[in-house]
């Protein structure tokens, strides 16, 4: 379980450009959760997730992961970073090895694992992200953007973290690439029940499609936390924060306003299609 208490972070403290990026956040994320973090640009999402694997030390406050205080001065950062895998935004920019294989193996090698264990993990991680095995011996710089992104994600997965955090994993991908990454996250979560997945997203559609819970950030503060249904029920508040609900939810709400009798908690196109089809059938029968 991730437990964040009273977390505050100030960039360039004491300088004239001082900026409070996180303002006394407190929340918990249970094991095995699938949480999306949403928030307007500059609301502190990236800053927050960098705290979760101790890349950034809080100005004040505490973060506990499975009961271990990772903000303590004597915290074992190696173990923390092994347990909490962080995939940065545009992770393909960090590839550096000669071959895809070596790049995915970078994390496990740093962990000091045996050659055969590393091999197993690389193959497993490559399989998870749907990377064809014949690409493993290629240079990462010969791959397409979407393939590079998968290599980078595999590079974190190969460390077999208990918590996987991704910062805008689908940014800059085409619809197909985006769908593939999202589907793989869903599959990953289904196959590893205990793995907690946290991802930052600007797409309410993506969030509605794959996440279980949502954490809403607004100007460095935690604005809301709850299940997808609970959070998207507050559409007007979300709009005030520069966010939105999925388009299909908005459409449904407008239909309700126009007098159509339909349930309001519609978040995915798939579910909406079923409802609308039923509605049309009823209308025909009348």
């Amino acid at each position: 379980m991730i437990k964040v208490s009273d977390l505050t972070y100030v960039y360039q403290q004491g300088m004239p450009y001082e900026k409070t990026a996180l303002d006394s956040l407190s929340f918990e994320i249970p094991d095995g959760d699938f949480t999306a973090i949403i928030g307007h640009t500059g609301s502190g999402k990236s800053t927050l997730i960098q705290h979760l694997n101790a890349l950034v030390r809080p100005t004040s406050g505490k973060i506990e992961i499975d009961g271990v205080d990772i903000t303590a001065p004597n915290a074992d950062l190696r173990t923390v970073r092994k347990n909490v895998g962080l995939v940065f935004q545009y992770p393909e920019h960090q590839l550096f090895e000669e071959t895809v294989y070596k790049d995915i193996a970078f994390g496990p090698t740093n962990m000091g694992l045996s050659e055969s264990e590393i091999r197993n993990r690389v193959y497993e991680a490559a399989g998870f992200v749907g990377l064809p095995l014949e690409l493993l011996e290629k240079s990462p710089f010969e791959l397409s953007g979407g393939q590079k992104r998968r290599v980078a994600i595999a590079g974190v997965l190969s460390m077999q973290p208990k918590v996987l955090i991704l910062d805008e994993p689908t940014a800059g991908l085409d619809p197909k690439g985006r769908d593939e990454i999202l589907d793989q996250l869903v599959r990953l979560h289904a196959e590893n029940e205990k793995m907690t997945i946290i991802f930052v997203s600007h797409s309410m559609e993506d969030v509605a499609r794959i996440a279980k819970d949502i954490l809403v950030m607004n100007k460095g503060r935690l604005a809301m936390q709850g299940s997808v249904a609970e959070v998207f029920a507050h559409s007007s508040e979300l709009r005030e924060m520069g966010l939105n609900v999925p388009q299909i939810t908005e459409l449904t709400h407008r239909l309700i306003a126009d007098g159509v009798d339909i349930r309001p908690d519609v978040y995915t196109v798939k579910f909406a299609a079923e409802l609308y089809a039923e509605l049309l059938k009823e209308a025909e029968n009348v």
Binding site: Q50, N53, L55, R78, R81, K82, G85, L86, F88, P91, H93, Q94, L95, F96, F106, G107, N110, M111, F141, G155, V156, M159
Partner: protein, 270 residues
């Protein structure tokens, strides 16, 4: 750790020196350095010291910024001093090493050591006053204007200045990028801080490769962006900020020439 790098440590201000024309400031700084290397007598140095202090006072820059510029010079200063102190031959011996008689300090050695240190220190202070009171953009603009006459002998003055401007512009971007890549590799267990020199050098590869690639990508993007806005070099280009020389610059120049004459006169006399 890379956040601390600052180049062009311009300190905004409104002093006499801040308001001077960048071209005049650059040329007078050069002049200052030339005088510094022409003098050697203690009295001339005393006058020069007074002048330098006056400059610092006039610039209204907190002395702490100027001292900061001297810090990285520490080792060079000590090295120069020691070398000059022991290696200078002279007639008046002040001290001989009791164990090894070739090692001795002469009066000449002591004087040269002190003068060398002062020379280096004033060199740094003089150039610091220039860079602390002139914004990097003004500085490169000034250099471009100064180099303009040399275009006759094919010196690409505009291109040199543009390259300097771009380099300065990208320092913060690249240091931000460095920090980001470092964090990303640290998230994969990379360790940049421990181990011996060899191990640390090797640990830099995961940082440097992506950094170079991103620098090239940025350079490419910038070139395309400049092209698409019809950038075609310095010809017929006008500027948003025109440089103007004022009476202030005339006074500064006259003062500097007067000072130079005085110092050189003292030097000849003593």
């Amino acid at each position: 750790m890379f956040k601390d790098i600052t180049i062009g440590q311009y300190v905004e201000g409104n002093s006499f020196i801040h308001k001077m024309d960048a071209r005049v400031k650059i040329l007078l700084s050069l002049f200052y350095i030339i005088i510094l290397f022409l003098i050697s007598s203690p009295v001339a140095y005393a006058v020069f010291t007074a002048f330098t202090l006056f400059l610092v006072y006039l610039s209204k820059v907190p002395p702490k910024f100027i001292l900061r510029g001297l810090k990285p010079m520490m080792y060079i200063l000590v090295f120069t001093a020691v070398l000059n102190l022991f290696m200078t031959q002279g007639s008046t011996v002040l001290w001989v090493c009791p164990f090894w008689s070739t090692l001795k300090i002469t009066k000449e050695g002591l004087t040269t050591a002190v003068l060398m240190i002062l020379r280096l220190v004033y060199l740094v202070i003089g150039t610091s006053v220039l860079t602390l009171t002139t914004s990097p953009l003004m500085l490169t603009d000034g250099i471009e204007k100064i180099l303009k006459p040399f275009e006759i002998i094919k010196v690409p003055s505009h291109e040199i200045a543009m390259m300097m401007t771009i380099a300065i512009r990208f320092i913060p971007t690249l240091s931000e990028e460095t920090e980001k890549i470092m964090k990303a590799q640290m998230a994969r267990g990379a360790d940049f801080e421990s181990g011996n020199v060899l191990k640390r050098a090797k640990a830099m590869i995961p940082l440097l490769v992506p950094l170079f690639i991103s620098a090239f990508r940025r350079a490419d993007d910038l070139a395309v962006a400049m092209d698409s806005r019809c950038y075609h070099g310095g010809k017929n280009r006008t500027r948003m900020k025109q440089m103007k020389m004022t009476v202030r610059d005339l006074w500064a120049t006259l003062f500097m020439v007067g000072f130079a004459a005085a110092v050189i006169f003292i030097q000849k006399l003593m």
